[in-house]
């Protein structure tokens, strides 16, 4: 009798696991796609990213995460043959980490963009630049946020 109960419990546990699997799997996959790592992999298709040439300027301390000034500039001649194609910004702790993507070209003249971003708490911000020669360069900045952007509705 005791043996039957145990095997029934085992069986029920297996059924429960099977039922839970299809629901849990897509959620886990979605969560993975939403990580900065996954987004960057998609952007670079596995190519190497070298720290340097990019300069990401953010205040070390931001009192209000709802609007933080951000400047990104890349050391590039911005000539017809050597220019920045795009700049990609990521905030690892934001619910949607990809803040913005900027597309430039030889007609930009200067590889620099200034904007204002939302930051959901103290975190690292990552800037990646894609250059015309196919190389990727990056910089990070750590920002301490006193009052986070109200992403959670609070």
């Amino acid at each position: 009798m005791a043996g039957t109960t145990r095997s029934r419990r085992k069986f029920l546990a297996r059924v429960a696991a099977l039922l839970a699997l299809p629901a849990a799997a897509p959620r886990a996959a979605r969560a993975q796609e939403n990580t900065v790592d996954a987004m960057v992999r998609k952007l670079t298709a596995g190519a190497q990213i070298t720290p340097g040439r990019v300069k990401l300027d953010l205040p070390a301390l931001a009192e209000n995460g709802n609007s933080v000034g951000l400047k990104v500039s890349i050391d590039s001649p911005m000539s017809a043959t050597d220019f920045v194609r795009s700049i990609h910004l990521y905030a690892e702790k934001n619910p949607r980490p990809n803040i913005a993507n900027f597309f430039l070209g030889p007609r930009s003249g200067r590889a620099q963009v200034v904007t204002r971003v939302r930051l959901a708490g103290t975190q690292n911000v990552l800037a990646i630049a894609a250059l015309s020669d196919g190389s990727f360069w990056s910089d990070t900045a750590e920002v301490t946020v006193t009052n986070s952007a109200c992403y959670d509705g609070s």
Partner: protein
């Protein structure tokens, strides 16, 4: 959707021109709730394009991580006297546009 654009009145050919634009828009994140507790749907300006004399010189894809009343400050190389045209669209499909002349000398 109104916008404020700042561009130098005159520029010299071959010099980078600084373009500054601020667009009035709430850039709703989709994570906020109204007073009745209902979710306010996400609505951000997701695409912004600047064309100079008909040629795209700058484009931005934006998400909820861009602050309300999005501000963009970028550059373009002065080439010929012509028009700078700015176009944008939000998640609801609402579009906005602004145009300013650029006088180039030299």
């Amino acid at each position: 959707m109104t916008a404020r654009v700042q561009v130098p009145r005159a520029a010299r050919r071959g010099q980078p021109v600084e373009i500054r634009i601020a667009i009035q828009h709430p850039m709703e994140t989709g994570f906020r709730r109204d007073d009745a507790g209902r979710e306010i749907p996400k609505n951000v300006i997701n695409r912004f394009v600047c064309r100079y004399d008909g040629v795209e010189v700058f484009r931005a894809e934006m998400g909820s991580g861009v602050a309300a009343n999005p501000y963009l400050d970028f550059y373009t190389l002065a080439d010929v006297s012509g028009e700078l045209v700015f176009d944008w669209v939000d998640d609801e499909g609402k579009t906005g546009s602004e145009r300013v002349p650029l006088v180039v000398s030299g």
